[in-house]
């Protein structure tokens, strides 16, 4: 048959254009199916990478230890987290690179311009290294400041804005409570809001020694942050830290641990696992909607074959072979499915881009994913277009001609 494929496709396109209502109906299901599929894929990957970013804010290679001070179930026997624990971990921990203690409480803070209650954190200079946090202006306090219990502070951008508006806060003084004036020596780069709503820039860092001397630390530190030498040593560090802490707290063998330990990386692993399951679930649902789109193609094409029975009869009477009629309807299914899938890719891209923007997620759809979805949608449409095409080809010309 010398008829070229492009001519068959050209005729199918012409038929599609000349019957816009039918064309749109056929394409709609697949377009929505493919669009939903892509949107789900991008939600899944976007949510996952967003979860990962959240954990990275808390530091990679980090293990957190929290004390149980004040918890009733320890009957007051829990020991506080102290500098002695920090020293023990640094001395005995083979895997441990840094240990940074932290205590955080809300205090009233005022500047020459404004006042409001916010969180004050007493910690060590390495805090910014562990959190991989850099300075916007000025610098972090150092070991000398710690030793001298210097009255200095490093603040986040939210605090700077609240207390100083647009003024340069470095060199200014803030007062904690009623009697602790602190000179601001640096401002931290903004880290924005976490999805939990916590503002990471709502922060004031002061030397732990200054905190202890002027604000008091009767229950010890709230938390010890341990940075391990290598990400691969995270689990080892968690195993190793337990006996060191127990010894440091002089716990008898029968006593329970009076501290808790966790690492963001482990939590991230769990989150990754959960979000993988969620993503698969979403994609599964989307695949079903794609299938439904395919069934839509089949239904409309079946209706179309029924509607065009007489046309098929005419073509057959003229001398079109069953094969030529089948090819015609299959070509229409290809054109409609392909176009519908392209529209779906457009929809999916649009939705995922809008959502990514709204949620400030980074990753959008890769060209490969979009091409894959288009190809898959087209295959589904063509597969479901086969039955109607076959039915058209099998019509008896006399019956078809008589059909009104």
């Amino acid at each position: 048959m010398p008829r070229t494929r492009s001519e068959v496709v050209g005729r199918a396109i012409r038929t599609a254009i000349r019957n816009p209502g039918r064309t749109i109906l056929t394409m709609l299901g697949l377009a929505i199916g493919v669009g939903a599929f892509l949107a789900m894929v991008s939600f899944g990957t976007g949510a996952r990478s967003s979860v990962m970013e959240q954990f990275e804010i808390l530091g990679t290679r980090v293990v957190y230890i929290w004390g149980n001070m004040g918890r009733r179930d320890f009957g007051g026997n829990a020991r506080p987290l102290t500098d002695a624990d920090v020293e023990a971990l640094l001395r005995d921990g083979m895997t441990i690179e840094r240990v940074v203690p932290r205590i955080t409480e809300v205090q009233n803070v005022k500047s020459a311009f404004d006042r409001y209650p916010t969180k004050i954190t007493g910690t060590m200079p390495d805090f910014v290294q562990i959190r991989e946090w850099s300075m916007l202006m000025g610098g972090m306090f150092d070991e000398t400041d710690v030793q001298q219990r210097a009255k200095v502070a490093v603040i986040g951008t939210t605090v700077a804005r609240e207390l100083f508006g647009r003024r340069d806060p470095v060199g200014q003084t803030i007062t904690i409570g009623s009697n602790l004036p602190l000179r601001i020596i640096g401002v931290l780069v903004s880290k924005g809001e976490q999805t939990t709503g916590e503002d990471m820039d709502e922060i004031i860092l002061i030397p732990a020694t200054t905190y202890e001397a002027f604000l008091g630390m009767p229950m010890g530190y709230h938390e010890l942050m341990i940075q391990v030498r290598d990400l691969g040593l995270l689990e080892t560090a968690m195993v190793e830290a337990v006996p060191i802490m127990r010894r440091s707290h002089r716990l008898a063998d029968i006593e329970e641990d009076d501290f808790r330990m966790a690492s963001p990386a482990q939590a991230a692993e769990l989150a990754r696992f959960v979000s993988t399951i969620l993503t698969s679930l979403l994609i599964g649902i989307a695949a079903v909607s794609l299938l439904v789109g395919g069934i839509g193609v089949m239904n409309i094409q079946l209706v179309s074959v029924a509607e065009r029975t007489q046309e098929i009869g005419i073509r057959s009477a003229i001398g079109a072979s069953p094969n030529q009629i089948m090819v015609q309807f299959l070509a229409e299914a290809v054109v409609l499915s392909f176009t519908g899938s392209l529209v779906g890719v457009g929809l999916g891209w649009l939705v995922s881009t809008l959502v990514a923007q709204a949620m400030s997620w980074s990753g959008t759809l890769s060209p490969l994913t979009m091409a894959g979805a288009a190809a898959f949608g087209t295959s589904v449409g063509v597969a479901f277009g086969y039955l109607p095409a076959k039915r058209a080809a099998q019509l008896q010309p006399i019956d078809a001609l008589r059909h009104e």
Binding site: M1, E311, A317, G319, A320, Q324, I398, L401
Partner: protein, 233 residues
């Protein structure tokens, strides 16, 4: 007329599964090449069924049918399509044009299925459409045409594949007398110009007047087969 039979049907019987008596019973017809034959009879006489068999739209239950010397009574569905494409043209009472196709596209359709390339088939179709007097209507859709124009397009389409046998089922049945006569004149002109054999199913005696020969069917049997007194070819 030119010699030799184009249609040789012998002992044609056609039964349908849900009918007690056969629709056609032992029908034998010979049509010489170039003849114009009227197939007449009351409704239910079996003339449409006979036309379907002669047009290779259907096969007989029994009997033999050879078209242009070739036995076509036992062909497969696919082979019958091939025979229709290359040997037979159809004209219907209700025109049967494809609604979303233009005049030009309708007329090129047989050539498209025969695999003629686009350029040539459009050239041939345009020539034919001009021949039937619709050169100014190439891009129109059937809905934009009058009944007479539609039938002219249908005739152009029926002959565009250069068939040897043209089957017309009540070709003037949906037209007024004047338009009907014009359509008949056109058919006769094409018959003369293209050496066609023409079989016209009709129950209009006036149309039958145009034909060389009139065959009457009743209850599935040929009851008379004779030359008309006023053949004009």
């Amino acid at each position: 007329m030119s010699g030799g039979s184009i249609v040789e049907a012998a002992g044609i019987r056609k039964e349908f599964p849900n009918m007690a008596s056969p629709v056609l019973d032992d029908v034998s017809i010979d049509v010489a090449s170039g003849e114009i034959v009227a197939l007449m009879g009351p409704s239910g006489s079996g003339k449409s069924t006979l036309m379907n068999i002669l047009g290779c739209l259907d096969g007989p239950t029994r009997g033999t049918y050879s078209l242009g010397g070739r036995d076509v009574s036992t062909l497969t569905v696919r082979e019958r399509a091939w025979v229709r494409l290359h040997y037979i043209g159809f004209i219907f009472q209700s025109f049967h044009l494809i609604g979303d196709h233009t005049v030009l596209e309708n007329v090129t359709l047989p050539l498209y299925y025969a695999g003629v390339d686009r350029h040539e088939r459009e050239a041939r179709a345009v020539e034919l459409i001009e021949r039937v007097g619709l050169g100014h209507r190439l891009g129109h859709r059937p809905a934009q045409l009058s009944g007479g124009e539609k039938q002219r397009v249908a005739i152009a389409r029926a002959v565009s594949g250069q068939p040897r046998l043209l089957l017309a089922d009540e070709p003037t049945g949906a037209l007024d007398t004047r338009t009907g006569n014009e359509v008949m004149e056109l058919l006769l002109e094409l018959h003369d110009a293209r050496a066609l054999t023409l079989i016209i199913v009709t129950h209009d005696p006036e149309i039958a007047e145009y034909c060389h020969r009139q065959i009457f069917l009743r209850d599935g049997k040929v009851v008379s087969d004779g030359r008309a007194h006023a053949a004009n070819a």
